[in-house]
């Protein structure tokens, strides 16, 4: 297939709040998904008010990006009061689509806001083309597949059904089928399917075989304990396969993640997608892209179910390995070309002599040591200890507003 006959896939990024939305869009997301005050699964992600949404939509639309709202809980009887109004408001503020898992919410939304596009959430565990077809016949334009679907199965789905397919490419994942885990309901009294998950799967357990009422431990003293913790998904190197399979939207998980995470991950995927799309024949994967991803990784990475049934190698046992973590040290507010001095808003402590990296949308990072720096009055500084304080720093290469300055965690 040539690129004339098909659409470039969308890069879809999470945005836990308005500021993250802006970074996601500036760093290259074609669309972002957010949570409103109600009906979303991330009760604790700084969710958007309608006012925030309006501003976010304006910001995204000006830059040609879309905004989706996750309304992906499994509803209970009491949740329907006010739901119709909520979807009407989403339509009014200009939201491009809602992500819904519960067919009841599909019904409410269709009735209340007929113009609002509906995407079926991964929480609905759609795993085969017949189920995708079912939703297509319901008039649904896009389905987010279950994480248990392989690349080969995606090809099969695309072959049978003319519908947009969204699939996760990056981030944390449930080790259960989405929606089919109520461990937290049982162990902590919190409803996982309404945003209350306490990550009980990642806890430690002891495993026994039971024979006629007797319990035999399956582990010996000193063995690793049983746990059900998945490594995080990363398909960065396999973006070409995802594109060739016909995936229409490549989704990054993480509405709870930091600005640094969102910017770094989006930036890397943007570069890979563009590089492959522009020239599939000459595309070579650059190790720097992977290095970038590793700077934001919280856990070891896996390709999930895309190539094979995950094994023990795709899980985390024992003490999770230490990841080299980076902190968001400062945000570039302005840059003076003549003097080569950047105005930086402090986000984490940094000081003179410290090694930092600058990243910006669509360009490669550069590393330098902090040399001279001043406060806004021009007084020379040795360190920047105050959150949000504005600092002037001499930079070795040109930077732009919204570029990020980061440092390795714990370094000085």
């Amino acid at each position: 297939m040539t690129n004339q006959t098909r659409k470039k896939p969308e890069l879809l990024a999470p945005a836990g709040n308005l500021e993250k939305l802006k970074f996601a869009v500036l760093y290259g997301a074609d669309a972002v998904y957010i949570g409103g005050q109600q009906y979303g699964l991330r009760a604790k992600a700084g969710n958007f008010t309608f006012e925030d949404m309006r501003e976010g939509v304006a910001f995204a639309h000006e830059r040609g990006a879309k905004v989706y709202v996750a309304a992906n809980i499994m509803a209970h009887n009491e949740d329907f009061a006010g739901m119709a109004d909520y979807f009407q408001m989403l339509q009014k503020v200009g939201i491009d689509a809602v992500i819904v898992a519960d067919p009841a919410i599909v019904d409410v939304c269709r009735e209340a806001a007929p113009g609002l596009e509906i995407h079926i959430s991964t929480q609905a565990s759609v795993t085969n083309w017949q189920a995708v077809q079912f939703w297509a016949e319901e008039g649904i334009p896009r389905v987010v597949l279950a994480r248990e679907v392989s690349l080969q199965e995606i090809c099969e789905i695309k072959r049978h059904v003319d519908i947009e397919i969204e699939a996760f490419v990056h981030g944390a994942m449930c080790i259960s089928y989405s929606g089919r885990c109520v461990l937290s309901n049982h162990m902590t009294n919190r409803d996982a399917n309404r945003g209350g998950c306490a990550q009980s799967c990642r806890w430690k357990y002891d495993l026994f075989a039971e024979e006629e009422g007797d319990m035999h431990p399956l582990f010996a003293e000193g063995d690793e304990t049983f746990t059900m913790s998945s490594k995080d998904l990363c398909m960065l190197e396999h973006i070409p396969e995802m594109i060739e399979a016909g995936v229409d939207s490549l989704k990054i998980e993480g509405r709870m993640k930091s600005i640094h995470y969102v910017a770094t991950v989006v930036n890397a995927y943007r570069q890979v997608i563009d590089a492959y799309w522009d020239s599939p024949e000459t595309f070579v994967f650059k190790p720097e892209w992977r290095e970038e991803i590793m700077k934001a990784a919280n856990r070891p990475l896996t390709t999930g179910f895309y190539f094979h049934q995950p094994t023990e190698d795709d899980q985390i046992f024992g003490v999770p390995p230490k990841m080299t973590a980076y902190d968001f040290a400062g945000l570039v507010l302005a840059y003076d070309e003549e003097t080569g001095i950047a105005t930086i808003e402090q986000r984490n402590h940094f000081k003179r002599g410290q090694e930092v990296e600058f990243i910006g949308p669509g360009r490669e990072r550069f590393i330098q040591r902090i040399g001279e720096m001043w406060d806004e009055e021009g007084n020379s500084l040795d360190e920047a200890p105050h959150p949000m304080q504005k600092v002037l720093v001499r930079v070795e290469k040109p930077v732009k507003p919204y570029d990020l300055m980061r440092k390795e965690k714990g370094t000085t």
């Binding site: 509803a75 209970h76 009887n77 399917n193 357990y205 179910f305």
Partner: protein, 328 residues
């Protein structure tokens, strides 16, 4: 006199006492899962109105695999007594299983089963094509949580809704009041609280340098920081399933379920010997027959004793989420 005959007699007495207030309620159906035709026969004899059976390729956590001849067999046994057979086809289906699905559904219709339990819309699609007359019971387990979703699937051809075990009694009643189709709830036994496609037990055994988890034996998980709670864990064709540490037992609250018109009561047989399941079915049978005449009748304490007498010590009985407050 055998234990269960004794129980029977005491219930009859209790019922006689309540004769004064005679207004007949709808008698709910009593369904139990069965692992083989022989088990099914005994469970029906103990008082079940219907059995749920299935093939582990298409069904989640069935207590035994039913081949097509076994299904034909159990249908003959059940129909001979005016009772019913439901076939679970409620797995999350992947392409591999779907290739044989149309044919499987056609054979189920031919063998005259009374309904198919489905969760995946792919099953609906297959049934519309190959077995349009066969009844469909909707069950997505943890995500069957409200009346509007029930009515959505009713519109798509479901004739019964099996509700999530994580609902409160009040929510169950709320669903029933607005539902366009009959409603089934689980009243007894263990529930699944986690389902992964991954072979998590085998993966762990590999880490320990042991081989695959070959037999589908029942294993138990103990959460490290909480003492005493045992969660059975099963690995099979559909992945890994963690089960509740307690058995639901709604015996003492059947009256309120009957009063509110709940149509069908389910007993999960999984993980228990046949003798236990027969005893439980017989107790619920007696309780239902008594309470259907007067749901407010005091339940004979001997019935609960009869359950406690066979209840394994490491598995407490409780009321699940019916009376439990959850936050999120």
């Amino acid at each position: 006199m055998s234990g269960s005959a004794l129980v029977h007699k005491m219930v009859l007495l209790a019922c006689l006492k309540e004769r004064m207030v005679l207004m007949n309620f709808h008698i709910p159906e009593l369904v139990v899962s069965a692992g083989s035709p022989e088990e099914a026969e005994k469970l029906l004899a103990a008082g079940a109105d219907a059995v749920t059976v299935g093939d582990g390729r298409y069904a989640l956590r069935v207590p035994g695999n039913f081949s097509m001849p076994m299904i034909t067999d159990v249908v003959r046994i059940a129909h001979g007594q005016g009772k019913k057979v439901y076939v679970a086809l409620n797995a999350l289906l992947h392409q591999e299983e779907l290739n044989g699905l149309d044919e499987y559904v056609r054979q189920l219709a031919q063998s005259k089963v009374d309904a198919v339990v489905f969760g995946d819309p792919a099953v609906l699609v297959a049934m519309q094509k190959t077995a349009p007359g066969l009844k469909r019971h909707w069950s997505t387990e943890t995500t069957s949580t409200n009346w509007r979703t029930v009515n959505f699937w009713a519109r798509k051809g479901a004739s019964r809704a099996i509700l999530a075990r994580e609902l409160s009694l009040e929510e169950v009643i709320g669903v029933k009041q607005q539902s366009r189709i009959p409603v089934q709830v689980q009243v007894h036994g263990m529930t699944c609280i986690f389902h992964s496609k991954r072979p998590l037990v085998s993966n762990y055994l590999h880490i320990l340098g042991k081989g695959d988890n070959k037999q589908e034996q029942l294993m138990v998980l103990k959460e490290n920081t909480r003492s005493g709670q045992h969660y059975p864990i099963i690995e099979d064709h559909n992945g890994t399933h963690v089960m509740s540490h307690e058995d639901i037992c709604m015996l003492e609250h059947l009256g309120v379920l009957i009063e509110n018109g709940i149509d069908s009561f389910y007993i999960e047989a999984l993980g228990k010997p046949l003798s236990y399941n027969c005893q439980v079915v017989s107790v619920y049978r007696q309780a239902i027959d008594c309470l259907a005449k007067n749901p407010q009748a005091a339940l004979d304490p001997a019935l609960l004793d009869a359950i406690n007498a066979v209840q394994p010590t490491e598995r407490p009985i409780g009321t699940g989420f019916y009376f439990r407050e959850q936050v999120y």
